[in-house]
Amino acid sequence: MNCGSTVEFVSALCDGEVIPVEAVRHIRNCKTCGITLREYLEIGTELRCEASLEPVEAASPISWERKKRIGSNWLREASEIIRIPRFAVALMIVTILGLSSGLVALKTRAARTGQILTLTLRPSESSSGGPVQCSMLTDGPKIAPCSVILAVESGTVASSTRIVARDENRFELGVRSKFVSKQAAEADKTLESSLSYPFKNLDTWPEKRLWLELGQNVPIEIAGGETMTLRAAFSNEGFSADPRFARNPDELDVSFPVLLEGKIVVFDIPSATASATSKGGCVFMYAPASGRYVLSLSPFAGSVEGRIEQNRIHFEMNGRPYEFVLGAPTADGKRIWILHDSKYRPSLEKEGAQDNQPFVGSADSQHCD
């Protein structure tokens, strides 16, 4: 095996999946794949650190016992048995539900605002590595620990810190650290010893407890003669998960598409999603009896221009208005180009492909024709 055929297994290995023996052998002896694995793990660690900045709110209490089952059976039976217009049945039900909703919906929204603690871990001055920061919430039902990998002079330190207790601006922290020297990593070629699993068996590492005041530098000794300094400060910066706030300008997302011609549904492909992220890339949809629609944020041969409004795409073909209604905002721009190929059938492109299954997919600019 080579790096190209193994790299997908590196990702799977990151996730704790069992991978083929040949892939394991290659990864163990390949420096490039080892670096890739380490970087994938670093990405995961960094994302988890970022996630700890997101305020986690407890679930709003709901009184399940008082929630009566709004069964669909009696609803269906009522509309079938009662010889009055269905609209009247619907109106009656809406009225009943409206009156009862005040009794049923006993929701209390709990608003908690946890402060964010940013930890700075600095290796000893003789070390070539710089400080590393990570942040965590100080309040909540499950506070993720702050886990970082620190480059020190003679190797690497993996460190995980959790909040044990708090007294105003003082925190009792539990710090677990593990040092792996360069020599040890080189001498033992197994993945486990080479920081591929930096936090493996974390629970078995000895935990050092210490009280830390905001702004105070506390030295921590690590096995192997290394030291690092820990410092804490409050941070007001949160992690915005709002997908509208940042998006790749070339990104085109299509999810759960419905196509309307005027007010008539042409097709509905539930649960299907596809994204194109490269410039000139496209998303395509196929529905039996409708053929294929190709969408791109760049103009291409045979396409018509459409208009994006968040999760909707408006366009005209042959003088008739069409609208895609999607399960999420599709792109941040306003303009989009659409091509309809009514004669397209998957079996024409690939022998044996099924023509009766709808699907969506994406392609880069080279393969959008």
């Binding site: 999946e17 994938y40 709901i62 069964g71 929204r109 997908p243 790749n248 999760n311």
Partner: protein, 174 residues
């Protein structure tokens, strides 16, 4: 999985205590997931509550052979988020707050993460932060396990590529 089956049986028998414990354990994480999809904390909370309420009102459709109970709940939440979007009329987004992060401006993994597609972000988030297994992700996104593996790889590789490119250009400019 046996635990899921036992819990599901309790839910079907209208055991409010068991369901409340399940709700309290999973609702905050479902909310965080839904925030990625709808971009609004309040809407995410509403959809999460609707998701749990619908399961409580009509407990049916869970098949332990197809995935865990948690994946089943996330799958319903994902569909409800899509339904919510489909029911929305387009509204003007405040251009002031829509700040694009270009590849050249990436300073952290977090910013590189936002340059991934929404689907890649969601998948990577559920795997790395939420700890969903491959089979759970397959159930949530209704795709084969092999596709989960390849999509996670693509997402990681793209994130790494963006991050590498940034570090390279920073080194060159220095």
């Amino acid at each position: 999985m046996a635990h899921d089956t036992a819990l599901w049986n309790l839910i079907c028998r209208r055991d409010a205590v068991a369901f409340d414990a399940f709700y309290r354990e999973n609702a905050p994480r479902l909310c965080a997931f839904l925030r990625h999809l709808v971009g609004d904390r309040q809407v995410a909370e509403d959809i999460a509550q609707e998701t749990f309420t619908s399961i409580w009102d009509r407990p049916r459709g869970f098949d332990p052979d197809r995935g865990s109970l948690r994946a089943y709940v996330y799958g319903i939440g994902r569909k409800r988020a899509a339904e919510w979007w489909r029911s929305q009329r387009p509204r003007e987004v405040d251009q002031e707050i829509v700040s694009m992060v270009s590849q050249a401006e990436v300073q952290s993994v977090r910013e590189a993460f936002f340059l991934l597609s929404r689907e890649q972000r969601t998948l990577l988030w559920l795997r790395e932060v939420d700890g969903q297994s491959y089979s759970e992700l397959a159930a949530i996104f209704e795709i084969p396990v092999g596709t989960v593996r390849s999509r996670l790889f693509t997402a990681r590789e793209q994130l790494r590529s963006i991050w590498h490119g940034t570090r390279q250009s920073q080194k060159e400019s220095a």
